[in-house]
Symmetry: C2
Subunit: 200 residues, 2 copies
């Protein structure tokens, strides 16, 4: 129960601890509403008001967590993509990684991708700031563009692919009792249908 206070000048350490334990709360959450100030404070072993030392309110905390979640997602996909040889294989690996990430971290995925239940405008702090998921989307568009290479609008194809992956993952998470086919096969089939498959 006795928590050792951070040394003087090191108050910023708590911010990091809050975010780390916040991600754990988020991981076990069914919905963003479960990520409460009090739950994160409990996880971090600190009293609720302590969070206000580093975040003005709950929305700010959630924003920071969503941001962090997207970056973890990006890194996971990047790492998987780098193992592929050639653009098509890289894209394919990114897609499989996408579904794997959601499957392994359902809490993170659902909360982060549903924008943490924040209303419009609550996400972007200052004006001109982009959506925290924008880099993730750009990475996908780039990977698609590398395959179609100069072909027609990669943005359109990326949207098709992204919608498919997100829908697949979200439905699968929400309705596991339905008769799901093999996901990896489904992804490869879809990539082929969208003319994004390696070595046709």
């Amino acid at each position: 129960v006795a928590r050792v206070q951070n040394p003087r000048g090191q108050g910023e350490r708590l911010r990091e601890e809050i975010l780390e334990h916040g991600m754990q709360v988020l991981a076990g959450a069914a919905h963003a509403r479960d990520v409460t100030i009090r739950a994160v404070a409990r996880a971090a072993g600190v009293t609720p008001p302590a969070l206000y030392l580093h975040f003005p309110d709950r929305a700010a905390l959630l924003r920071a967590l969503v941001e962090r979640g997207f970056r973890a997602f990006d890194q996971f996909l990047d790492a998987a993509g780098q193992q592929g040889s050639g653009p098509a294989e890289e894209l394919r690996r990114r897609c499989h990684a996408y579904v794997q990430f959601a499957h392994r971290h359902p809490g993170e995925y659902r909360v982060v991708f549903s924008a943490a239940g924040l209303g419009p405008g609550e996400l972007a702090v200052s004006e001109g700031e982009e959506h925290p998921g924008a880099p993730s989307f750009r990475a996908l568009v780039d990977a698609v563009a590398a395959v179609t290479s100069g072909d027609s609008a990669p943005l359109l194809k990326a949207t098709q692919l992204w919608s498919f992956l997100h829908g697949l993952v979200d439905l699968r998470l929400t309705k596991p009792e339905l008769p799901w086919p093999d996901l990896d096969e489904l992804i490869d089939t879809t990539l082929a249908d969208l003319h994004l498959a390696p070595e046709r």
Copy 2:
């Protein structure tokens, strides 16, 4: 404030009123958690304990509302599909109706399709009872099967299509600030890619 009590023997009328006003609450809800017993009671002009006359607990009320939401969704798609001439055109109309429904009734769509935030097992009351969304999925599989007509697994293609539609709708609802292409065009393109388009 003065609500006229239902006549004797007509207590079942309240059940219907609760469900109707419950759907309205659901329509304006950002998440299933907003559909509370007290909110529905307020909407129905009744005190909270009155709901217990017809539903054993909140989960039962939510189940009934989700069921109703799925049936409204089904009817909307069926009506749209019937206007099409030929299986492919019928499927196409169903797909466009899918996206339209979600766009017009975002609250219903999100709550109903996320299974109202009910945990696994909370949805199906008695054993052997199927998921309330199962008929909706079957209707889609049938529409797809009518197009591929005897071709290979319609279930797989239906899953591809459903994932795409759900993902498209969910992402669009969650992240309206991203650069979305024209949805109708996107749907037609995808149907063509999946070899499900009319008059190729």
